[in-house]
């Protein structure tokens, strides 16, 4: 079977904070419709990789090609406009705004009809948010807030969704819920690039994985091919 043209091509990406290099020539692809998970120890450059893709940090060199368009160095709102949305680790919600206002902020550039359709779609996917649509977001549980964060990112109809530790701070039951959300998004054809420390969730939800160590890709492969042999990956990550 022919491998489809990657939706995202990262080539020799270097990113640093001040003089401290984090990514030192990372190279990988994200294929359309898949969920790729980035694994690695703390400080290996996983979140930095996502931040470079969505424009929160500017690469010092290298290329980020999204559907043939060079996005490295573009400001976050321009990258978002190309169809890349991120759900950050901190979720970055607006706690005093209602659930619905938070969701609407995710589609500020869309007109009334498209916005209303997307809102209906999000409420259909997350019925719990529909029940709490008029509630201030800070009054929601951690899991519900994560739903708002994911829903808000989906409001713009992204072609690539970046998920930075979606299970962070959530109960094991909700991790399973996150996995189901990712499954549903894959069925809809949403491409995802995910950073996840929870290996159970990572292997339950992702199609492929890559391992970052000291800012370079050291391993990778098909998740299904690794079924039951997670120990080798854990060794590769941490040892």
């Amino acid at each position: 079977m022919d491998t489809p043209e990657p939706l995202l091509k990262i080539r020799d990406l270097h990113v640093g904070y001040g003089k401290k290099p984090i990514l030192r020539g990372a190279t990988y692809d994200v294929l359309p419709g898949e969920c790729l998970t980035l694994l690695g120890a703390n400080g290996s450059g996983k979140s930095t990789s996502l931040n470079a893709v969505c424009g929160f940090v500017t690469p010092t060199s290298g290329s980020v090609l999204f559907d043939g368009i060079e996005t490295a160095g573009l400001p976050p709102h321009k990258i978002f406009g190309h169809g890349i949305a991120q759900v950050s680790q901190a979720r970055d919600l607006f706690p005093d705004l209602t659930v619905e206002d938070n969701l609407r902020l995710g589609a500020m550039r869309r007109g009334g009809k498209a916005l209303a359709q997307n809102l209906t779609r999000i409420y259909h996917r997350f019925p719990r948010l529909a029940e709490r649509r008029k509630q201030a977001t800070r009054t929601l549980s951690g899991g519900e807030q994560q739903m708002v964060a994911i829903g808000r990112a989906l409001m713009s109809g992204p072609r690539l969704l970046l998920l930075d530790e979606p299970s962070g701070g959530l109960s094991p039951q909700f991790c399973e819920e996150i996995a189901r959300i990712i499954d549903a998004l894959k069925e809809e054809g949403v491409t995802m690039l995910m950073v996840e420390q929870n290996l159970n969730l990572a292997f339950r939800a992702a199609d492929r994985f890559i391992v970052l160590r000291d800012g370079v890709v050291v391993d990778g492969g098909d998740v299904r091919a690794m079924a039951g042999d997670h120990d080798a990956i854990v060794r590769n990550i941490y040892l």
Binding site: H77, F94, T98
Partner: protein, 327 residues
């Protein structure tokens, strides 16, 4: 928002109330003496000044103090256009607003370059002082320390020296600008303004052009306060550089806080209270400042969210969309 949002019925009642208050105020000139009328005119001007101020520091969350600069630009702009170019004063009101908006554009430059907090405060204070220096030294245009008189003018045969006529014009301008600002803050733009205040990076990541939001808010603030400046020039009939100094800025800041930071309703309430208070305190010669300070302190201690919070507690009809109480 911690408050209960108004229901559809309450929103209709609010709309009715919004128009009922100015409708009742139309009768005010029949129930007041000239002195009280003069004070009421001053309240309307202060309401617009406070409204413009609270938009930037309350709604947008930028510690910018260029408000008095916008006020001076509007007042001098109106006076120069009327006295030097012979334009009818009424026409100078939107033009003074446009000049104020230009001032807002200039003041936003620092914020757009990423300058925030105390640094933005100092730069915008310097902008205000620079403008005052300009009024003092551009004598051929502004009259320098001598100030600048407004030319006499009539409307439908009535002189603008009449405080009653001024009141009706001021009321119309104030109602129009308050309504326009309320609508702006309830719109998608208002949601973006609040988002910028809450988390600028997250807002930018949602493809909301934060620079444009900051720029437009500063410019609208400048427009509102610039229009207030034009009203002020006719109100006092003479513009002096001293009217646009730190004292005016501090008084406006107090009005914003007493009314309720970031609240349109609060801006009006704060302006009404703090414009009226010194007049009533004249009955206590030598103690005015003391009583004024004590009353302001008492309001802020008892109602840290300002006078508007009192009304919000009474009924959800006073809850403003995208308003957030300060921590």
């Amino acid at each position: 928002m911690s408050q209960t949002m108004p229901t559809a019925k309450q929103r209709r009642l609010r709309s009715l109330l919004f128009w009922a208050v100015p409708a009742l105020l139309l009768l005010l000139p029949f129930a007041t003496n000239p002195y009280t009328q003069f004070i009421a005119n001053g309240m309307l001007i202060s309401a617009l000044v406070t409204l413009g101020f609270t938009l930037v520091i309350g709604n947008l969350g930028q510690l910018a103090f260029a408000n008095t600069a916008f006020f001076g630009i509007g007042a001098y702009g109106s006076a120069i256009l009327a006295a030097k170019l012979g334009l009818p004063w009424l026409l100078t009101i939107p033009l003074a607003g446009a000049l104020g908006a230009l001032g807002g554009f200039l003041a936003s430059a620092a914020a757009l370059r990423g300058i925030r907090s105390y640094y933005l405060a100092i730069i915008t204070l310097a902008f205000g002082e620079l403008m005052r220096w300009g009024y003092l030294h551009a004598k051929p245009l502004t009259g320098g320390t001598d100030g600048m008189p407004m030319p006499p003018e009539t409307l439908f045969g009535t002189s603008f020296s009449s405080d009653t006529l001024k009141f009706y014009v001021f009321l119309a301008v104030t109602v129009l600008l308050v309504k326009a600002t309320l609508n702006l803050m309830r719109s998608r733009f208002g949601r973006a303004v609040m988002a910028v205040r809450e988390n600028e990076v997250a807002t930018a990541s949602l493809a909301i052009p934060t620079s444009r939001v900051i720029l437009v808010t500063f410019m609208w603030s400048g427009f509102v306060v610039g229009c207030a400046g034009a009203l002020f020039s006719r109100h006092v009939g003479y513009v002096f550089p001293e009217s646009f100094g730190m004292l005016h800025l501090i008084a406006s800041f107090a009005m914003v806080l007493v009314g309720g930071l970031g609240s349109v309703l609060g801006a009006v309430l704060g302006a009404v209270l703090l414009t009226a208070l010194p007049e009533y305190l004249r009955a206590f010669p030598g103690m005015e400042e003391l009583f004024f300070g004590l009353i302001v302190a008492a309001v802020l201690v008892l109602m840290p969210m300002g006078l508007a919070s009192l009304l919000r507690r009474l009924s959800p009809i006073f809850v403003e969309r995208f308003y957030r109480e300060a921590p």
